[in-house]
Amino acid sequence: MNRPNDVRDAMLGAVPSLRAFAISLCGNMDRADDLVQETLLRAWANLGSFQPGTNMSAWLFTILRNLFRSEYRKRRREVEDADGSYAESLTSLPDQNSRLEIGEFREALKMLPPEQRESLILVGASGFSYEEAAQICGCAVGTIKSRVNRARTRLADILSIDSASDFGPDRETRAVVNSS
């Protein structure tokens, strides 16, 4: 028998990071929260399949990712985004007081293939090891490493980061120079 209080606390503890991951997958806070809710319900119903002592957070991320992928596949079959409303919802992030830089970075992230994006986020933001990320994505560790590497390279390319100091106004200046 598992102790529900511990389980509940562990689940709640994972929620902030699950939401951040979910929004990076679906790009919309409302859908992200629905995804997290579904994940928690699914996890609660399947607590028996959770191995005590293993990483609860990685387990929840795996469930969330699988839910998203099956929903995404269904959605694509159903609508094929006839009027572009889905694509539009991707850009309607709640951006209240975030810096322009982050907005720009987000846009660049969206241009990555989904597998590269999720790998980079799991390793670079969620703080999972390559091994855990591989477990979450159901692939080999080497695959994750190469996805992360390609994602970084592509991002550097999109954002024209030549060196750390190139983020910011310098970038604009160079863009003007280059396009003349």
Binding site: M1, P4, N5, R8, M11, L12, V15, P16, S17, R19, A20, I23, S24, D33, V36, Q37, L40, L41, W44, S98, E101, I102, F105, R106, L109, L120, I121, G124, A125, S126, N149, R152, T153, L155, A156, D157, S160, I161, D162, S163, A164, F167, R174, V177, N178, S179
Partner: protein
């Protein structure tokens, strides 16, 4: 249009192949990592919305009732 002047000193070797091996400097990796964590942190810093606290409380109570019967 996009002439590469001497100021373009990206650490890439070749862009012709789609699978070109490109070595990124540690400063670029660090900058991307920092941006990623900033972006992610914006959501993480919002904490746990009430709806999830309430939902798990309900599930927990339901489990308790179930196990007493």
């Amino acid at each position: 249009m996009n002439r590469s002047g001497p100021s373009q000193r990206k650490t890439k070797t070749d862009v012709r192949g789609s699978e070109t091996v490109i070595k990124l400097g540690p400063d670029i990796k660090a900058k991307i990592g920092q941006q990623l964590r900033l972006m992610y942190g914006e959501v993480v810093d919002q904490g746990v919305p009430d709806r999830f606290v309430e939902m798990l409380k309900r599930l927990d109570n339901a489990t308790d009732r179930g196990s007493k019967e």
